[in-house]
């Protein structure tokens, strides 16, 4: 039986990404390590995304609070605003929105950067100079994404909650201390841990797809554009799939 063209292509691409991930798993623990390049990527991927993540996180918290307020007031549960917002932000909205923004900025960036290195033979040049380009370019980037996204998400959550506090104070008055006291009274270990753990997988997926698409880019500059575009689309899709799986798993474990 012959598979339809697109299905066959999808399966073939999925298999190739899986093999790419296996190669990463094989290389990440094997010396020599490119520690300097890894730190450089942590700076480029993590620190340089901080501004964007902070601004979007602040707006996210502020807007969510302002949108929720009328409904909360009509039900007479306005005082429960910190509870509602903190659960929504920390468990779901914060990790997913942060990951999507991170994917838009980083996955496309990695796809375009590695893609242009591929078409200008810079990756081949590394290979012939005796440096393993997979380890130098791919392993460092995937590892940096995997480690940086959870940190950025925690920061984004904190800034979102601050934005939410400002949102609460637009039409009312609650002290910052009281607001965060209510937030920390609400949040349990089971709210924070699964949400943080899933961002590790989000980060891995973003780095993996961006690197895969760039590393296998073809057909000149057009191919570089396609690699960057496909990296964002696939990474965004994977974020939702991983999110769905995480919810199922945490549900089975009784953490929801």
């Amino acid at each position: 039986m012959r598979l339809p063209g697109q299905l066959s292509q999808f399966l073939s691409e999925s298999g190739a990404i899986f093999r790419f991930a296996l190669r990463y798993a094989g290389e990440v623990f094997r010396a020599p390590w490119e520690f300097r390049e890894f730190l450089h990527q942590c700076y480029e991927i993590g620190f340089r995304s901080l501004g964007l993540i902070a601004v979007t996180g602040f707006i996210m918290g502020l807007v969510l609070t302002m949108q929720l307020r009328p409904s909360m007031v009509s039900y007479g549960v306005e005082s429960q605003m910190p509870v509602m917002v903190s659960l929504a932000l920390v468990r779901e909205i914060g990790p997913v929105i942060t990951a999507l923004i991170f994917a838009g900025k980083i996955s496309s960036g990695i796809g375009a950067e590695l893609g242009s290195m591929k078409v200008t033979e810079q990756i081949d040049a590394m290979e012939v100079s005796g440096t393993n380009p997979f380890k130098y370019l791919v392993v460092t980037r995937i590892l940096a994404c995997t480690l940086m996204l959870p940190i950025l998400t925690v920061l984004s959550d904190a800034i979102s909650l601050y934005g939410s506090w400002i949102g609460v104070n637009i039409k009312g008055h609650t002290s910052l201390k009281l607001y965060f006291f209510q937030v920390f009274q609400t949040l349990r270990f089971g709210d924070v841990l699964p949400a943080t753990v899933k961002t590790v997988f989000f980060g891995f997926a973003i780095g993996l797809v961006g690197s895969y698409k760039g590393y296998h880019s073809m057909r000149g500059t057009e191919g570089v554009g396609r690699a960057a575009n496909a990296a964002v689309v696939i990474a965004s899709l994977l974020i939702f799939i991983i999110d769905l799986l995480t919810v199922q798993i945490t549900d089975l474990l009784g953490l929801n």
Binding site: Q122, D124, V128, S129, T131, N132
Partner: protein
Amino acid sequence: MSSPEKNIAIAINKVTKSFGDRTVLNEFTLNVVKGENVVVLGRSGSGKSVLIKCIIGLHQPDSGHISVLGIDIGTLDHPGMDKLRARVGFLFQSNALYDSMTVRENLFFPMRRHVKDITATQAEQKIMETLEHVGLAHTASMMPSELSGGMQKRIALARTLVLNPEVILYDEPTTGLDPITAREISTLINDTQKRYNTTSVIISHDMKCVEHTADRIAVLLNGQCYKIDTYESLRNSNDAEITRFFE
């Protein structure tokens, strides 16, 4: 007196390489003697670049053997290939300079893995010495994008020279350059051979460069080494397949 085998820097024996249905190299055989410059001459798309990419291990031949500096590259694992690559320089047609690094960092990059027990001062000294050889010591802190095509070619050559390679593979070193710069690069190839005592395989169809640099010329035709001889002999040949390169 050394044996003939010991004098062979590169031995290519019946190498075949296909891409899909298209056979690019068809039992190609060529021996390059230590210290000589061999130019591989062929039409565009005849498989010249594929040939030198097979020599450096970027492409795997479908059949046949390639020995570089007495080592059969087909028997090497990845670390073994990396060690051999430290002894073989490769100048890409596109230069392939790392565009996110300065010229100094580009030259330092191959040294990170292959030059052990070297201080930062010694590395800097080596880099500057190599840049001086290509006449571009003043560009050490510049980015590749700030350099002209000819300068980029020289920096790419400097990057291969920084490890003191015994063999250098040049992939169309003068393509895209104006005649004066092309002549300078050809002179630089000869100077490099004399100063570093290298063996070179040069892929080219620029006949000025071929005349200037070749000790011998191998004509690549239909995937095979059709003829190998000196520039003068080939120029005086009556074979129509040869003479059209000189027209």
